[in-house]
Homo-oligomer: 352 residues x 2
């Protein structure tokens, strides 16, 4: 069996550790024939859960370690002292070729810092980004960066556009994905020099998507483009504002539908429809922050997710490996960097 | 009658011009005894609408001009060539003391550029900000800046904190408002130097609010603090992401509640409750982007608002004048700038 189909799991990350990670592996196993799991963590906590799933036992190996990264540990400290931690060993399994991907629900900053250090970036990628799928009024939109890089220059934003458009092509199956840069208005003169510089480059080069132009915050929910590119500060705020407003809307609706006996009766009749709605927006099916641009596949599951959510993150990891995402990115970045238009745009901006 | 109670209205701004502005003035008039309106714009379009409201005619003066600022005009062009435009004349009425405040639904960038040029900033305020009230799960939160300033250094963010906390005290009536700085995490080391610098200053000085710490995007909808401070780029994205997600949520709910005969019957029974919900989140009651920090009161109404929304923007203008908002800001900024802790924080940051 190819080790490409081995998925390394950090069993100790997230709020629930093996109690979520092991049942999630069992759920994902059913959809991923031929997959093998390399599970890293404390076998005293892993084995009792694992023993409930005899089928899963046959396709997994437990690598015992007592060390783990705490949720509140600083990334720099995790890198320094996280040797032999479940997170680090899982990442190293990818580096060593013992696994094709790694999934962790642990400390995001530590996971990013360690995977950058161990896996390194793909050739031509300055900095990896965190990407995630947002549900929209028209379908789905990939947004990146969601917090890996507080500040991003024009060239880095262009690299994100390549990462996003390759993802949209090979994983979402969109032939010619549209890419927008998040800004405070759609006119050319809007925004700071980083977004204007990235717009100038993307307007002039060939890359695996079509450059749409600037988009605004509401365009994410409207589904105006397939890929939204932004720096990690703005992207993180956008992600969390969206989560907050979605929660507020559903809370307000719930309050309204329980505010009177008549409303309660109405809600009861509409329950099947409301349940379908809830399912279609269920954050568990959008779980899996993808660290794109690393020379290896690393997926971050939300720390508070249950097994359904974590299983989805496992499927996302398997999908990136199966679709040869990284090979394609490496190819497209090389194509980009060889273009005269790219070289002259970037050097013109460096001078100005 | 004091000219403080005169409100200058740019009748030509927004998507509907006098067809919305005049009926809005009529609506607001009823709640604002003693108010006078100075209406600027094309009398051939204003007078036919005005003639329908004999009571309003008694408390208003029409100042005719045929010039107006187009919605797509660049702010710099509007400043250069906007002399005698309805927007500019309305702002000048405040400058000349003929009005206490100005309300316009016109081009936001032009309105900000012109009012900065004509009214100037309050002493001690480097740059005015656009502020607005967001509905939250706990009540209301003021967020600023929503787009006036793409980049803001630490000292400017601190000034926004003063503007926001004075607003929360004198207009929202909150004795000791909590102020948070929008960031990508709550820990001290998160974010860029501007937010960390502002946090360092606010932790050390006395100002009219209580510094809460960093807040994240979801804290806006959760209503974690009374005032959220951010730069205009991030704030504008946050505002528009929130608008987009709110629209998506309500659209999805509507679709669910019309997806089957049973759901439709349920929705019918729950209709009064759903209508109350819709009203409580009605953007028209949150209309009125406030330009805080100017030496004069200037309110921007959303361009697509109807008369109920524009009337609310008029009430916001009247409220700022009546509560002596600007006098209080000038006092508090002076208090801040005289503090040893402020002076040493700011100069330490300037050196580093």
């Amino acid at each position: 069996m190819s080790t490409r189909q081995t998925i390394a799991l950090d069993a100790m990350g997230g709020d629930f550790g093996p109690d979520v990670v092991i049942p999630a592996a069992e759920l994902a196993r059913a959809d991923l024939p031929g997959v093998h799991f390399a599970i890293f963590g404390d076998e005293r906590r892993i084995n009792p859960v694992l023993s409930r799933y005899p089928e899963l036992c046959r396709v997994c190996t437990v690598h015992h370690t007592e060390k783990m990264i705490a949720n509140d540990e600083k990334p720099s400290a995790a890198v320094r002292s996280g040797k032999d931690s479940s997170m680090r060993l899982a990442i190293e399994a990818v580096k060593n070729g013992d696994a094709g991907s790694v999934v962790s629900a642990g400390n995001t900053g530590a996971l990013m810092a360690m995977s950058k250090l161990i896996l390194k970036s793909l050739p031509g990628i300055t900095r990896p980004a965190i990407a995630s799928i947002f549900p929209t009024m028209r379908g789905k939109t990939l947004v990146l960066d969601l917090g890996a890089n507080i500040a991003c220059d024009a060239e880095i934003l262009v690299q994100f556009a390549v990462l996003g458009s390759v993802y949209a092509r090979v994983v979402m199956g969109i032939e010619s994905p549209t890419v927008g840069i998040l800004n405070v208005g759609s006119e050319d003169m809007k925004g700071h020099e980083q977004v204007r510089g990235a717009a100038a480059i993307l307007s002039n080069v060939q890359f695996p998507g079509r450059y749409y132009g600037f988009v605004e915050g509401n365009d994410i929910a409207y589904g105006t483009v397939d890929v939204v590119v932004t720096d990690g500060f703005t992207g993180n705020v956008a992600l969390k504002v969206a989560e907050g407003v979605a929660k507020m809307s559903s809370d307000y609706t719930k309050r309204a539908l329980t505010s009177s006996p008549l409303a309660k009766l109405g809600a009861l009749l509409a329950m099947p429809a409301l349940k379908r709605l809830k399912k279609s927006l269920d954050p568990r099916f959008y779980n899996g922050g993808m660290f794109l641009g690393l020379d290896g596949v690393c997926i971050k599951s939300h720390g508070g997710m249950d097994e359904i959510g974590f299983a989805n993150a496992i499927r996302v990891a398997a999908g990136l490996v199966e679709n040869g995402f990284n090979r394609r990115v490496a190819y497209e970045i090389e194509q980009l960097m060889n273009q005269e238009a790219f070289i002259s745009s970037v050097s013109a901006q460096a001078i100005s």
